[in-house]
């Protein structure tokens, strides 16, 4: 229990009569790369929302690096090192790419309350924002307004924003959603080069990419964990095969 990055204990979330997440217990260790897979409607994004604090639990506990965050608001969890991306691109459409990144960079810094100097007068901030863009090869787009970016570029910016705050745990919600096969390959390459110290939990529909980028796999079905373990073991699990072949 002590050596975990993220620990979920019997986490449940009900919507009216529907149990979207039903008693999920799992542990993700620091530096681990874990894929969260399952058919549509299995409760994966709901689980992410619960972990990130975007939605309250019906019951259960969530701990981040040993700290109980079950009732902590989303911004508090982010301050503890949790970052997430969104399945449906959630950027700041009217701001420039650089401004999007600046927001991510200053989020945990006291400077975010500074009211009397233009943001351009903080070279350290600009530096970090540009570095975050460079990591995803987006520096050339610095002044472009996000609204005008292509879908692929926006998906990359999603990740750049999540990484800009230097997180310890990264929740990636379908990073390749809506990308062409070529773009997906590029994205997979970027994700492979992520800092190995970051713990990554990823929802991904593209099974090849999911299995390629992860060491551990958790399979969710109707809100329950039906398989959980090393990649090869889960791949060979008969129940998992039935769900995916039967579907």
């Amino acid at each position: 229990m002590i050596n975990h990055a993220l620990h979920l204990d019997a986490v449940c979330r009900a919507f009216g009569g529907l149990q979207a997440v039903d008693g999920v217990t799992l542990t993700v260790h620091p530096g681990e790369r874990r894929a969260l897979i399952g058919p549509n409607g299995a409760g994966k994004t709901t689980l992410f929302n619960l972990i990130a604090g975007a939605m309250p639990l019906s019951s259960g506990r969530i701990a981040l690096f040993g700290r109980d965050v079950t009732h902590a608001p989303a911004h508090r969890r982010a301050a503890l090192g949790l970052a997430r991306t969104f399945q449906i691109t959630n950027l700041f459409p009217d701001l420039s790419v650089l401004e999007n990144c600046l927001l991510a960079v200053q989020a945990h810094l006291p400077v975010r309350f500074s009211m009397f100097r233009p943001v351009g007068r903080y070279p350290a901030l600009l530096e970090r924002a540009r570095a975050a863009l460079q990591r995803l090869e987006l520096e050339k787009l610095g002044d472009a307004v996000v609204r005008n970016l292509s879908h692929g570029e926006q998906r990359q910016l999603e990740i750049a924003l999540a990484l800009a705050g230097q997180p310890r745990v990264l929740l990636l919600d379908e990073p390749t959603a809506g990308l062409s096969p070529a773009e997906s390959r590029l994205m997979a390459g970027l994700l492979r080069r992520l800092d190995p110290e970051i713990t990554v939990l990823m929802i991904e529909h593209d099974m090849d990419i999911a299995l390629e980028l992860s060491d551990m796999v958790t399979v969710l079905h109707y809100g329950r964990v039906i398989a959980d373990g090393p990649r090869e073991q889960v791949k060979a699990d008969p129940q998992v095969k039935e769900i995916y072949l039967g579907a």
Partner: protein
């Protein structure tokens, strides 16, 4: 870009200052009024255009500032600095209390709550007769003097308002380009993303609400001196509504746009009143026209903004 805007503003200030002594009395008072109301419009822009919170009760803080000055100047014979300080402080306190209630709400709820809160202030102005003289209003607010400077003449008072408006514009201008201001624009863009990034969105919205109220209150204090008379009409719903139109007309999120919108509405109102009593009809028409044909407002459209 900031330097360019500051330069344009400086030029505008200099031009206005030079022209003022040459203008006849009536246009000069209208210009003074436009400056004061411009401060109110800009304060609402910080909340609406930058943070994305549509408030229909902004006249409340304007009114609290105005009443504070009126009461202190007529009953306590308090000087300029004391009156301004009291007005701004009380407006801030009001915004601080109202903010606690309003900021929990989002979207349309926020709109309705701010409207109701604005009416609370109106109701107090109307019924707390022992304090506010109710419907009769408080008359006889003397023009102030700043130490040896007598500001009672139309030209000195205009300069006083010009400087005040310029300072208010500069402070708000710095706010919206600061990291905090960027945060507000982020909130307008996507609150959920801001939460996910680690911002305490409630706190930022609350701060914007109170700051906006402070500047509105400041405008109110000047209004009391300008008009010499403060009444519940200054805090009625129509005033909040007119302010909202000034922001929409000028261009939300541009700061100078709403100030311009304020000027246009002030001149239009006074000009139109000479020829017809149908001012509200025209105002309503302007509202609908702006929404249908120029949703980014004048300055917004000029800057090529998309809304």
């Amino acid at each position: 870009m900031i330097a360019r805007r500051a330069l344009l503003a400086a030029v505008a200030v200099v031009v206005l200052a030079a022209v003022a002594p040459l203008l006849p009395a009536y246009p000069l008072t209208l210009l003074t009024q436009a400056l004061i109301v411009g401060i109110l419009a800009m304060s609402l822009d910080v909340l609406l255009g930058y943070t994305g919170l549509s408030s229909l009760g902004h006249a409340a803080y304007f009114g609290v500032g105005a009443y504070a000055v009126a009461i202190m100047a007529t009953e306590k014979q308090a000087g300029l600095v004391a009156c301004l300080a009291m007005g701004v402080l009380l407006a801030a306190a009001t915004a601080a209390v109202f903010g606690l209630l309003a900021i929990r709400a989002t979207g349309s709820y926020f709109l309705m709550i701010t409207l109701a809160l604005g009416m609370v202030i109106w109701g107090l102005a109307f019924r707390w007769v022992s304090l506010t003289k109710g419907d009769n209003g408080i008359a006889g607010v003397p023009r102030p003097s700043l130490g040896p400077l007598d500001l009672s003449g139309p030209v000195p008072f205009f300069y006083f308002c010009l400087v005040s408006a310029a300072v208010a514009w500069a402070l708000m201008g710095l706010l919206v380009v600061s990291p905090f201001g960027l945060g507000l624009r982020g909130i307008r863009g996507s609150e959920t993303r801001m939460q996910a990034l680690g911002y305490n969105v409630w706190l930022h919205k609350y701060a914007a609400f109170v700051i906006s109220g402070v500047f509105a209150g400041f405008g109110g204090t000047l209004w009391a001196y300008y008009n010499g008379f403060v009444s519940p009409n200054d805090v009625q719903l129509v005033t909040s509504v007119e302010t909202l139109l000034m922001v929409a007309l000028g261009g939300p999120g541009t700061l100078i746009g709403p100030a311009l919108g304020a000027g246009i509405i002030v001149f239009l109102k006074n000009f139109v009143s000479v020829y017809t009593k149908r001012w509200l009809l025209i105002l309503g028409g302007v509202y609908i026209g702006v929404i249908l044909f120029a949703p980014s407002g004048i300055v917004g459209t000029l800057r090529g903004r998309r809304r």
